[in-house]
Symmetry: C2
Subunit: 308 residues, 2 copies
């Protein structure tokens, strides 16, 4: 099969990672821009386009299928980034229009988690699936939902925000201004908070700073509070995933992100909690899986997948 | 425009309502079978087919586009009814196959709420909408979800069970064996339970038997507990609907069923609670509406819509 090429761009608050992706799902070259150094969206997109042109030249590629972009608050319908809190550009950035003016190819914009879900479908573990959900656990909790083989964008392009579904009404305060969001219990920060609360409950001064990785190391070394932290996290996530199933009855739910590296500490009790919380007609039908995308290139591959 | 015709069948535990529906959304004739009198699915479908043939003959219709069937636990993919608790046939009924053997036309089966949602799209208030949700409040709470103009069936045909999304982990016991399901707070029975609990909290003996209609009448006549019941119900539903928006970002959420007749007692505080609970990026974008389908023919029209 002849290989084709696409550009995948992962826009983050710190860096903008621009990758040249082959149709077999291999990212063969990167260029990195420092997002924070730009205050002007026009200059920023100028440099993105230059980087793309250099990538093509250096790799002797004369044709690409298009440019896929995953960005916080990226909107599929409008091709814009809408008020992303971590980016140096304020307001609405007409990313698709700005790039399309400078390079003649298909340009697609969406949010990071949607892109990752589509990456899972095109290059990862969901190749044969038409109904699945991908959950990203990290600083926040994101989601990309695929129904009938299509990403769920909603009427406004903003669908798939399961991290902000209310898990516990009146629960932990969330950065979104509401209470009890899933994100507050299963993001990296939420998991650390659970650990610190368990320490306090046990009369132990919680560590000033600790990461999910360290909580996993403590669990590995036999610390009960760390093990309990993962079990509680799994119970929170199990309820949320069972709820998601009542919505779209996916064949599989994929997980990705730092906390997933807790491995069996998270996944074993998660499968138990999921099974306990799921409605009987769905029981045993939906698999909980770890994303099969290569960790370092998830965002790039997801973005490139949008135009495959 | 030339009118075409379809058969819509609403299978309930008591009656099976078979309607002849014109493409302008008018149900021009009915036949009713008493579901409970059948213990054999073959005889039951024989009589359904006879009723259809009589309907066509009596109305001088020579051609129909097909037969749409809404049934509890109706499965779109398999054309079966799977272990519906209120029907006299146990196990899996191969409804589509049984009917297709006897009459040569397209046959589609789905659950009641999915059918109603599609009815809303074809004949009701969602004609121009590609992303919306319909919630049926009644004995239970059902939902039909439309994404990208298509009903969400999920990988197994069973999607759209928002009545059994967990609203309050560890909350009221549900008939499904789990706790805290939306259905336990916003179905007719759940609303009555709320009223009775409020009575007890106030030191008043709750009525032995009361209906949602009577609670509305009491609210109308100024009874504060009845008014508070609707306000609490609205608050429960507001959280659930805001959660649903994080999933599929619908343009509108339609409500139908007996409790919706509480009118402003439910709808006014519902809009407030929905707005308070919705994530900021979705604020002001999703309308809460009452279904525009004619109440008596909702199920028939929904079923017929499946094959339009």
């Amino acid at each position: 099969m002849t290989q084709t090429y696409a550009i995948g761009i992962d826009i983050g608050g710190t860096n903008t990672d621009i990758g040249l992706v082959r149709s077999d799902g291999k990212c063969i070259a990167h260029k990195i821009l420092s997002t924070q150094t730009y205050s002007d969206a026009e200059l920023y997109t100028d440099d993105i386009v230059s980087a793309i042109q250099n990538l093509l030249k250096e790799n002797e590629i004369s044709h690409i299928e298009g440019i896929g972009i995953g960005a916080p608050n990226g909107n599929y319908y409008t091709g814009t980034i809408d008020d992303a809190p971590n980016l140096p550009f304020s307001g609405k950035i007409f990313l698709k229009d700005l790039i399309s003016k400078k390079i003649d190819t298909k340009v697609v914009v969406t949010n990071d988690a949607n892109a990752a879900a589509y990456g899972e479908k095109i290059y990862g573990g969901a190749k044969d699936l038409n109904d699945f959900i991908l959950i990203t656990l990290g600083t926040g909790v994101g989601s990309g939902i695929v129904v009938n083989g299509q990403l769920v964008y909603g009427h406004d392009g903003c669908a798939g925000e399961l991290g902000h579904a209310t898990l516990y009404p009146g629960g932990r305060m969330c950065s979104c201004g509401r209470r009890g969001c899933l994100e507050q219990y299963t993001s990296a920060r939420g998991i650390v908070q659970t650990y610190c609360e368990l320490c306090k409950d046990d009369g132990i001064t919680p560590p000033e700073k600790i990461t999910c990785k360290e909580i996993t190391e403590r669990a590995d070394s036999g610390e009960l509070l760390a093990q309990k932290t993962w079990k509680l996290t799994a119970e929170h996530l199990g309820i949320a995933l069972a709820n998601a199933v009542t919505f779209s009855s996916p064949k599989a739910i994929f997980l990705m992100g730092g906390p997933v590296k807790a491995g069996h500490w998270l996944l074993d009790p998660l499968k138990v909690a999921f099974n306990e919380n799921i409605l009987s007609i769905f029981k045993g039908k939906t698999e909980i899986l770890v994303s099969k995308l290569p960790e370092n290139d998830v965002a790039i591959l997801g973005a490139a997948a949008l135009i495959q």
